[in-house]
Symmetry: C2
Subunit: 162 residues, 2 copies
Protein backbone atom coordinates (compact mmCIF):
# COMPACT_ATOMS: atom_id res chain seq x y z
CA UNK A 1 0.00 0.00 0.00
CA UNK A 2 2.93 2.34 0.42
CA UNK A 3 4.61 1.93 -3.00
CA UNK A 4 5.53 4.98 -5.04
CA UNK A 5 3.39 5.57 -8.09
CA UNK A 6 5.62 5.57 -11.15
CA UNK A 7 3.52 4.97 -14.25
CA UNK A 8 -0.03 5.79 -15.19
CA UNK A 9 -0.85 2.09 -15.20
CA UNK A 10 0.40 1.77 -11.64
CA UNK A 11 -1.55 4.88 -10.67
CA UNK A 12 -4.76 3.42 -12.05
CA UNK A 13 -4.12 0.07 -10.33
CA UNK A 14 -3.22 1.50 -6.94
CA UNK A 15 -5.23 -0.24 -4.23
CA UNK A 16 -6.56 2.90 -2.59
CA UNK A 17 -7.42 4.59 -5.85
CA UNK A 18 -9.31 1.51 -7.01
CA UNK A 19 -11.12 0.85 -3.72
CA UNK A 20 -12.26 4.43 -3.26
CA UNK A 21 -13.15 4.77 -6.90
CA UNK A 22 -15.39 1.71 -6.79
CA UNK A 23 -17.00 2.73 -3.55
CA UNK A 24 -17.70 6.31 -4.57
CA UNK A 25 -18.77 5.23 -8.02
CA UNK A 26 -21.25 2.72 -6.61
CA UNK A 27 -22.64 5.24 -4.13
CA UNK A 28 -23.04 7.83 -6.88
CA UNK A 29 -24.79 5.53 -9.24
CA UNK A 30 -27.07 4.40 -6.48
CA UNK A 31 -28.02 7.98 -5.70
CA UNK A 32 -28.40 8.72 -9.36
CA UNK A 33 -30.70 5.77 -9.98
CA UNK A 34 -32.78 6.26 -6.82
CA UNK A 35 -33.08 9.96 -7.67
CA UNK A 36 -34.21 9.15 -11.18
CA UNK A 37 -36.84 6.79 -9.85
CA UNK A 38 -38.30 9.51 -7.62
CA UNK A 39 -38.15 11.99 -10.45
CA UNK A 40 -40.11 9.72 -12.74
CA UNK A 41 -42.65 8.66 -10.12
CA UNK A 42 -43.19 12.04 -8.44
CA UNK A 43 -42.02 14.74 -10.85
CA UNK A 44 -39.48 16.30 -8.48
CA UNK A 45 -35.71 16.28 -8.70
CA UNK A 46 -33.50 14.49 -6.24
CA UNK A 47 -32.39 17.80 -4.70
CA UNK A 48 -35.97 18.91 -4.28
CA UNK A 49 -36.69 15.68 -2.42
CA UNK A 50 -33.78 16.35 -0.07
CA UNK A 51 -35.02 19.85 0.62
CA UNK A 52 -38.54 18.57 1.31
CA UNK A 53 -37.10 16.22 3.92
CA UNK A 54 -34.97 18.92 5.50
CA UNK A 55 -37.97 21.20 5.80
CA UNK A 56 -40.18 18.40 7.07
CA UNK A 57 -37.79 17.94 10.00
CA UNK A 58 -37.93 21.65 10.85
CA UNK A 59 -40.78 23.23 12.82
CA UNK A 60 -43.72 25.31 11.61
CA UNK A 61 -41.71 28.49 11.08
CA UNK A 62 -39.48 26.82 8.50
CA UNK A 63 -35.78 27.44 7.99
CA UNK A 64 -33.67 30.27 6.61
CA UNK A 65 -32.16 29.54 3.18
CA UNK A 66 -28.65 29.36 4.54
CA UNK A 67 -29.61 26.31 6.63
CA UNK A 68 -30.39 24.52 3.38
CA UNK A 69 -27.17 25.45 1.63
CA UNK A 70 -25.30 24.13 4.66
CA UNK A 71 -26.95 20.73 4.58
CA UNK A 72 -26.64 20.32 0.82
CA UNK A 73 -23.53 20.59 -1.31
CA UNK A 74 -24.90 23.71 -2.99
CA UNK A 75 -23.81 27.34 -3.05
CA UNK A 76 -26.20 29.98 -1.75
CA UNK A 77 -26.89 31.03 -5.33
CA UNK A 78 -27.85 27.48 -6.18
CA UNK A 79 -30.23 27.33 -3.22
CA UNK A 80 -31.88 30.58 -4.27
CA UNK A 81 -32.63 29.09 -7.67
CA UNK A 82 -33.68 25.69 -6.36
CA UNK A 83 -36.13 27.32 -3.95
CA UNK A 84 -37.36 29.57 -6.78
CA UNK A 85 -38.35 26.48 -8.74
CA UNK A 86 -39.87 24.75 -5.73
CA UNK A 87 -41.87 27.87 -4.95
CA UNK A 88 -43.07 28.07 -8.55
CA UNK A 89 -44.13 24.43 -8.24
CA UNK A 90 -46.10 25.28 -5.09
CA UNK A 91 -44.06 23.00 -2.82
CA UNK A 92 -42.63 25.68 -0.51
CA UNK A 93 -43.25 29.31 0.34
CA UNK A 94 -40.95 32.09 1.43
CA UNK A 95 -41.80 34.42 4.28
CA UNK A 96 -40.03 37.13 6.25
CA UNK A 97 -37.55 36.14 8.92
CA UNK A 98 -38.59 38.14 11.98
CA UNK A 99 -35.16 37.72 13.58
CA UNK A 100 -33.12 38.95 10.61
CA UNK A 101 -34.51 41.14 7.92
CA UNK A 102 -31.80 40.14 5.44
CA UNK A 103 -33.00 36.57 5.48
CA UNK A 104 -36.14 34.76 4.44
CA UNK A 105 -37.77 31.73 5.97
CA UNK A 106 -38.68 28.81 3.74
CA UNK A 107 -41.43 26.41 4.79
CA UNK A 108 -43.45 23.61 3.29
CA UNK A 109 -46.87 24.24 1.81
CA UNK A 110 -49.57 21.61 2.22
CA UNK A 111 -48.72 20.39 -1.29
CA UNK A 112 -45.05 20.19 -0.27
CA UNK A 113 -45.93 18.07 2.76
CA UNK A 114 -48.00 15.75 0.63
CA UNK A 115 -45.19 15.46 -1.91
CA UNK A 116 -42.68 14.68 0.84
CA UNK A 117 -44.88 11.82 2.03
CA UNK A 118 -45.47 10.50 -1.48
CA UNK A 119 -41.81 10.66 -2.50
CA UNK A 120 -40.68 9.00 0.74
CA UNK A 121 -43.02 6.12 0.14
CA UNK A 122 -41.61 5.62 -3.33
CA UNK A 123 -38.07 5.91 -2.03
CA UNK A 124 -38.55 3.42 0.79
CA UNK A 125 -40.28 1.03 -1.53
CA UNK A 126 -37.40 1.17 -4.01
CA UNK A 127 -34.72 0.76 -1.38
CA UNK A 128 -36.53 -2.18 0.13
CA UNK A 129 -37.37 -3.90 -3.10
CA UNK A 130 -34.07 -3.54 -4.88
CA UNK A 131 -31.58 -3.14 -2.11
CA UNK A 132 -32.72 -4.93 1.02
CA UNK A 133 -35.05 -7.72 -0.05
CA UNK A 134 -32.48 -9.58 -2.11
CA UNK A 135 -30.28 -9.81 1.00
CA UNK A 136 -30.94 -12.71 3.38
CA UNK A 137 -32.83 -11.31 6.38
CA UNK A 138 -30.03 -11.87 8.87
CA UNK A 139 -27.79 -9.64 6.79
CA UNK A 140 -30.00 -6.59 7.19
CA UNK A 141 -28.60 -5.71 10.59
CA UNK A 142 -25.02 -6.14 9.47
CA UNK A 143 -25.73 -4.04 6.46
CA UNK A 144 -27.38 -1.28 8.48
CA UNK A 145 -24.35 -1.29 10.76
CA UNK A 146 -22.05 -0.96 7.74
CA UNK A 147 -24.03 2.00 6.53
CA UNK A 148 -23.71 3.65 9.91
CA UNK A 149 -19.98 3.08 10.17
CA UNK A 150 -19.29 4.24 6.68
CA UNK A 151 -21.45 7.30 6.77
CA UNK A 152 -19.82 8.32 10.04
CA UNK A 153 -16.29 7.67 8.74
CA UNK A 154 -17.03 9.51 5.54
CA UNK A 155 -18.55 12.39 7.46
CA UNK A 156 -15.51 12.63 9.72
CA UNK A 157 -13.21 12.54 6.71
CA UNK A 158 -15.08 15.37 5.06
CA UNK A 159 -14.79 17.43 8.22
CA UNK A 160 -11.03 16.96 8.25
CA UNK A 161 -10.60 17.64 4.54
CA UNK A 162 -12.26 21.01 4.58
Amino acid sequence: MGEAIGSAKEAAGNELVVAFGRFLGAANRLEHVLGRAIEEACGISHLMFEVLLILARADEAGLPMRAISREQVLTTGGVTRLIDRMEAAGLVERGANPDDRRGRMVRLTAAGEAKAVEASRVHVENIRRYFLEPLPAEHHDVFAEDLRILSRSAGDAVGRLR
Copy 2:
Protein backbone atom coordinates in the same frame (compact mmCIF):
# COMPACT_ATOMS: atom_id res chain seq x y z
CA MET B 1 -39.21 -0.45 9.85
CA GLY B 2 -42.48 -1.49 8.28
CA GLU B 3 -44.77 1.36 9.50
CA ALA B 4 -46.86 3.32 7.05
CA ILE B 5 -45.71 6.84 6.40
CA GLY B 6 -48.47 9.25 7.31
CA SER B 7 -47.06 12.76 7.81
CA ALA B 8 -44.14 14.62 6.32
CA LYS B 9 -42.42 14.58 9.70
CA GLU B 10 -42.71 10.81 9.84
CA ALA B 11 -41.48 10.55 6.27
CA ALA B 12 -38.38 12.59 7.07
CA GLY B 13 -37.72 10.52 10.20
CA ASN B 14 -38.18 7.13 8.58
CA GLU B 15 -35.27 4.88 9.43
CA LEU B 16 -34.48 3.85 5.87
CA VAL B 17 -34.82 7.34 4.46
CA VAL B 18 -32.50 8.70 7.14
CA ALA B 19 -29.90 5.93 6.89
CA PHE B 20 -29.66 6.01 3.12
CA GLY B 21 -29.72 9.79 3.08
CA ARG B 22 -26.82 10.00 5.50
CA PHE B 23 -24.84 7.37 3.70
CA LEU B 24 -25.34 8.79 0.22
CA GLY B 25 -24.84 12.32 1.47
CA ALA B 26 -21.57 11.42 3.13
CA ALA B 27 -20.33 9.54 0.06
CA ASN B 28 -21.25 12.46 -2.17
CA ARG B 29 -19.61 15.06 -0.04
CA LEU B 30 -16.52 12.91 0.17
CA GLU B 31 -16.35 12.65 -3.59
CA HIS B 32 -17.03 16.35 -3.90
CA VAL B 33 -14.29 17.31 -1.48
CA LEU B 34 -11.72 14.86 -2.86
CA GLY B 35 -12.57 16.04 -6.38
CA ARG B 36 -12.12 19.66 -5.38
CA ALA B 37 -8.76 18.88 -3.87
CA ILE B 38 -7.56 17.30 -7.12
CA GLU B 39 -8.99 20.16 -9.10
CA GLU B 40 -7.12 22.72 -7.06
CA ALA B 41 -3.85 20.80 -6.96
CA CYS B 42 -3.80 19.55 -10.57
CA GLY B 43 -6.15 21.74 -12.58
CA ILE B 44 -8.37 18.91 -13.82
CA SER B 45 -11.95 18.12 -12.92
CA HIS B 46 -12.99 15.05 -11.02
CA LEU B 47 -14.50 13.48 -14.14
CA MET B 48 -11.32 14.11 -16.11
CA PHE B 49 -9.40 12.30 -13.39
CA GLU B 50 -11.75 9.32 -13.67
CA VAL B 51 -11.28 9.22 -17.43
CA LEU B 52 -7.50 9.42 -17.10
CA LEU B 53 -7.62 6.35 -14.82
CA ILE B 54 -9.94 4.44 -17.15
CA LEU B 55 -7.62 5.11 -20.09
CA ALA B 56 -4.54 4.28 -18.05
CA ARG B 57 -5.96 0.81 -17.44
CA ALA B 58 -6.56 0.27 -21.14
CA ASP B 59 -3.83 -0.78 -23.58
CA GLU B 60 -1.88 1.31 -26.09
CA ALA B 61 -4.71 1.49 -28.62
CA GLY B 62 -6.99 3.27 -26.17
CA LEU B 63 -10.76 2.83 -25.87
CA PRO B 64 -13.79 3.78 -27.91
CA MET B 65 -15.83 6.62 -26.44
CA ARG B 66 -18.75 4.36 -25.63
CA ALA B 67 -16.57 2.42 -23.17
CA ILE B 68 -16.15 5.64 -21.23
CA SER B 69 -19.83 6.53 -21.14
CA ARG B 70 -20.50 3.02 -19.83
CA GLU B 71 -18.12 3.33 -16.90
CA GLN B 72 -19.22 6.83 -15.96
CA VAL B 73 -22.69 8.14 -15.23
CA LEU B 74 -22.60 10.28 -18.37
CA THR B 75 -24.58 10.30 -21.60
CA THR B 76 -22.70 9.83 -24.86
CA GLY B 77 -23.19 13.53 -25.57
CA GLY B 78 -21.60 14.38 -22.27
CA VAL B 79 -18.63 12.14 -23.04
CA THR B 80 -18.16 13.81 -26.41
CA ARG B 81 -17.88 17.18 -24.70
CA LEU B 82 -15.73 15.97 -21.83
CA ILE B 83 -13.28 14.39 -24.28
CA ASP B 84 -13.37 17.60 -26.35
CA ARG B 85 -12.13 19.53 -23.35
CA MET B 86 -9.53 16.93 -22.43
CA GLU B 87 -8.26 16.91 -26.00
CA ALA B 88 -8.07 20.71 -25.99
CA ALA B 89 -6.06 20.45 -22.77
CA GLY B 90 -3.67 18.01 -24.43
CA LEU B 91 -4.46 15.12 -22.07
CA VAL B 92 -5.92 12.70 -24.62
CA GLU B 93 -6.06 12.28 -28.37
CA ARG B 94 -8.66 10.80 -30.67
CA GLY B 95 -7.78 8.44 -33.49
CA ALA B 96 -9.64 6.27 -35.94
CA ASN B 97 -11.09 2.99 -34.74
CA PRO B 98 -9.87 0.41 -37.27
CA ASP B 99 -12.61 -2.05 -36.26
CA ASP B 100 -15.54 0.35 -36.60
CA ARG B 101 -15.47 3.44 -38.74
CA ARG B 102 -18.37 5.01 -36.85
CA GLY B 103 -16.31 5.10 -33.67
CA ARG B 104 -13.13 6.82 -32.55
CA MET B 105 -10.45 5.58 -30.19
CA VAL B 106 -9.40 7.78 -27.30
CA ARG B 107 -5.97 7.34 -25.75
CA LEU B 108 -3.71 9.15 -23.29
CA THR B 109 -1.02 11.50 -24.51
CA ALA B 110 2.29 11.65 -22.64
CA ALA B 111 0.95 14.71 -20.82
CA GLY B 112 -2.17 12.75 -19.93
CA GLU B 113 -0.11 9.93 -18.45
CA ALA B 114 1.91 12.37 -16.42
CA LYS B 115 -1.25 14.04 -15.17
CA ALA B 116 -2.75 10.68 -14.20
CA VAL B 117 0.33 9.92 -12.10
CA GLU B 118 0.38 13.36 -10.51
CA ALA B 119 -3.34 13.37 -9.69
CA SER B 120 -3.22 9.85 -8.25
CA ARG B 121 -0.42 10.84 -5.92
CA VAL B 122 -2.45 13.77 -4.67
CA HIS B 123 -5.54 11.60 -4.33
CA VAL B 124 -3.81 8.83 -2.40
CA GLU B 125 -2.12 11.34 -0.17
CA ASN B 126 -5.46 12.98 0.67
CA ILE B 127 -7.25 9.71 1.33
CA ARG B 128 -4.47 8.53 3.55
CA ARG B 129 -4.07 11.74 5.44
CA TYR B 130 -7.69 12.55 6.07
CA PHE B 131 -9.40 9.20 5.93
CA LEU B 132 -7.10 6.40 6.96
CA GLU B 133 -4.52 7.88 9.27
CA PRO B 134 -7.01 8.96 11.90
CA LEU B 135 -8.21 5.34 12.15
CA PRO B 136 -6.26 2.96 14.40
CA ALA B 137 -4.14 0.72 12.16
CA GLU B 138 -6.03 -2.50 13.01
CA HIS B 139 -9.23 -0.95 11.63
CA HIS B 140 -7.84 -0.55 8.13
CA ASP B 141 -8.66 -4.10 7.10
CA VAL B 142 -12.16 -3.98 8.51
CA PHE B 143 -12.71 -0.73 6.76
CA ALA B 144 -11.44 -2.05 3.43
CA GLU B 145 -13.79 -4.99 3.81
CA ASP B 146 -16.71 -2.63 4.49
CA LEU B 147 -15.88 -0.72 1.34
CA ARG B 148 -15.85 -3.93 -0.66
CA ILE B 149 -19.16 -5.18 0.71
CA LEU B 150 -20.90 -1.87 0.24
CA SER B 151 -19.62 -1.15 -3.20
CA ARG B 152 -20.67 -4.62 -4.32
CA SER B 153 -24.12 -4.30 -2.70
CA ALA B 154 -24.62 -0.86 -4.19
CA GLY B 155 -23.52 -2.13 -7.58
CA ASP B 156 -25.95 -5.07 -7.39
CA ALA B 157 -28.77 -2.79 -6.33
CA VAL B 158 -28.14 -0.48 -9.25
CA GLY B 159 -28.22 -3.43 -11.59
CA ARG B 160 -31.61 -4.46 -10.24
CA LEU B 161 -33.00 -0.93 -10.28
CA ARG B 162 -32.29 -0.31 -13.93
